[in-house]
Symmetry: none
Subunit: 244 residues, 4 copies
């Protein structure tokens, strides 16, 4: 209940910054995996409705962040790099505190439990199939990672996890809510990425229970399970953060 500043300064956003954000969002959501090649400069310019110059500026930023590698000539292009924890995130360390973590998970709790409750009411059978497939792949990745630990697998699991949660949100069929879930997960990515190094043992525990509740149309239960899942993740991360 602040008294009255009333108006916040506005900040102009340059086109290439928007492109950086969009590409980062896409990478964060695991739409491209380490080693994948992004569409060509020309295609990106076309898709994003900007000029090639602008794409290049944006790519340069992501290259400086060690998220892409740029090779020229035949067979060149933009290649997705694995998140490298040794680079100090190029510039400013995200520097997450426990307080930030709490705020982010508070928000997740609010919007994701809400979303999953609606999802239970509005999901289609196609949604359920897609989500089940995702879960299956996540199990595979976990099993593989146990046999042969590797950051690439951890990374892949994170991407799948992200897609699972977003998929659940999409079942709510509410554009506003979906956008908010995307936003909070995007905001969480940076902080979590800087802490997350191993596959948390309980990472996939409650996913299938949640999906079952959604399948059964039991919103209350889905919501409660989601709350438990989020809380568990929160505690895990918080303890890692405290010890890092």
């Amino acid at each position: 209940m602040t008294p009255s500043p009333h108006l916040e300064p506005v900040r102009q956003i340059a086109a290439h910054e928007l492109v950086v954000d969009e590409l980062r969002r896409s990478l964060d959501q695991g739409q491209f995996r380490p080693g994948d090649r992004l569409p060509s400069e020309r295609e990106l310019a076309d898709i994003l409705h900007v000029s090639r110059t602008t794409v290049r500026s944006a790519v340069a930023v992501l290259e400086a962040e060690h998220r892409l590698s740029v090779r020229r000539g035949r067979g060149g292009g933009f290649t997705v790099l694995a998140p490298a924890h040794d680079h100090p995130a190029s510039e400013q360390q995200a520097e997450v505190g426990l307080r930030d973590l709490r705020d982010l998970f508070d928000l997740r709790l609010v919007v994701e439990t809400g979303a999953v409750q609606l999802a239970a009411a509005r999901r289609t059978t196609d949604d359920l199939t897609d989500l089940a497939n995702l879960l299956g792949r996540m199990q595979q990745v976990i099993r593989e990672e146990r046999r042969r630990p590797s950051t690439a697998l951890v990374y892949e699991f994170q991407a799948l996890d992200n897609r699972f949660h977003l998929g659940l949100a999409r079942c709510s069929r509410n554009a506003h809510l979906i956008a908010q879930v995307e936003a909070v997960r995007g905001a969480m990515w940076g902080p979590v990425g800087s802490v997350f190094r191993d596959l948390e043992p309980n990472a996939n525990d409650l996913h299938s229970d949640i999906l079952a509740a959604v399948r059964g149309g039991d919103g209350e239960n889905a919501s409660a399970l989601m709350a438990e899942h989020i809380d568990s993740t929160h505690r895990t991360l918080a303890s890692w953060l405290a010890n890092s």
Copy 2:
């Protein structure tokens, strides 16, 4: 769970559009009342960190939307106009459907119940005083409006109501969550404004109960009351919309 567009076109946002948004947000939140004068062009430019030219472009838009009137000379300035329901929103009628309303209220339900739950845990006594004051003023406005109905009073109530809900959200002390509540209330403003003409009889019913729960630190109850309140408003608006 759409398969693959992966990347959305980006859209450059001009500085004056951002200023329009910021001013609209401020007006929507009732930070200025009809008849009030906004800060002068020069002050706005200063506050918003843009040039006067940019402020002017933005003000021109709001003037075209009949939300501000512009007068010059000593004593002139930008004056806030009362929302005029007879202008067909200047250009495109907001054209809200029941479906849109449902989505918006779904979202309110999710974020505002979540926010009030946290608020119950984190509110300070100052917060409680402020909120109680707001409630007092809302009661006055309602009483006055019953004696002497007037659109100005309806409008004033809406502004106070908005401040009450935002105030509750701010008690959560979670910037992300506050931002989301602001966003959803902003999104709701246009649609609701186009339907809302009278003071709904139940407008203030649950507010004091919610505040009491927040004061008592009973998050569960606060959340439930808020859900009831939002649902009630939703039903009222939906019936008005259906009959309009």
Copy 3:
């Protein structure tokens, strides 16, 4: 047939300059006589659709040119002064050459003979009455000036002469043409005013002949007489200019 500059620089005209021009035009056309008071500042502002400030700026210019005198307080106002030939036109002497005179009279010849030809075809009887009255007053002024020479009378004759010529042009009922006659007479005023000191003996010679031709509907003759009149005036002025 200059080859190609194609575009001329534009020049912004300040509001008070426009007011100066308008007032000058009005004074030049003899709509106010020396000693007359102009409408009050407030009235002028109203008539001219500008603010009082702007009127004041304009009046200040005319005062500096010794065309108006400004007195304040009760009974004050803007008083028209007689053209004072001893002031060197305040700033830059108009500095007319024979060449300029020729160009101006070339133009008068063209537009005024054309205008009078149309006038002969389109004049009404009211027009004729008005013009005859003007001629009568001009004769009176000439007679009076012969008995008792005075600059005031010369000035009055000039104003009447101007109104006679403009009146003829207005009979053409062609707004474009009338505007052009006004423009050329306005342009001529400054140069002529700086040379003209006495009543030329032949000043009124052909006026009644021209009016008679217009009355008779004889455009050809009216035009020829006008040409003769203009030529005569031209020669008189040119000789004065050569000897000054």
Copy 4:
């Protein structure tokens, strides 16, 4: 001979309006042809002694009138569009009546016959060469248009015709007169443009006769031929207008 309003309201003219007028004048006089590129924004600002911003405002108006098209990037710029008779002049149809046409041609008759008379006396041999060249090109265009009718050619002829008439006026070496000829032709352009679609058969008939008279120094004859030419054009347009 109106009795007394005496003073007309003044109207502030914004710099960008002046630029619009100047550009319109230039386009009307055919100094740029459809498809031509205007000087760049920066050059125009330089030539017209205004800022780029002001040029832009003006260009925006002409773009809205479908007289220019704006493209950006290297090779972009302001391109002159062909007058599109299908756009209803974007906003207000010029809506010319026979009465307006008469007034305009009355004026043409007056000023252009006067101008050509002086031209016969003052033309140089260079003037004659230039005018003869123009006539030659006009003949070519007419011949080509007979073989292969096209609006582009009609438009080109109009531009050449305009330059011929202005060229004649310039021979008078009288700046005032030239300005008036330009003004009346400018005023005529809009009305005529909205009627003129074909090459009038008699479009070029008297041009060479007029030029011959000017070459011979026979002002009387040149003037008479010009009168005949203007009258003929007037009748042609009036009949088209009556039948449209």
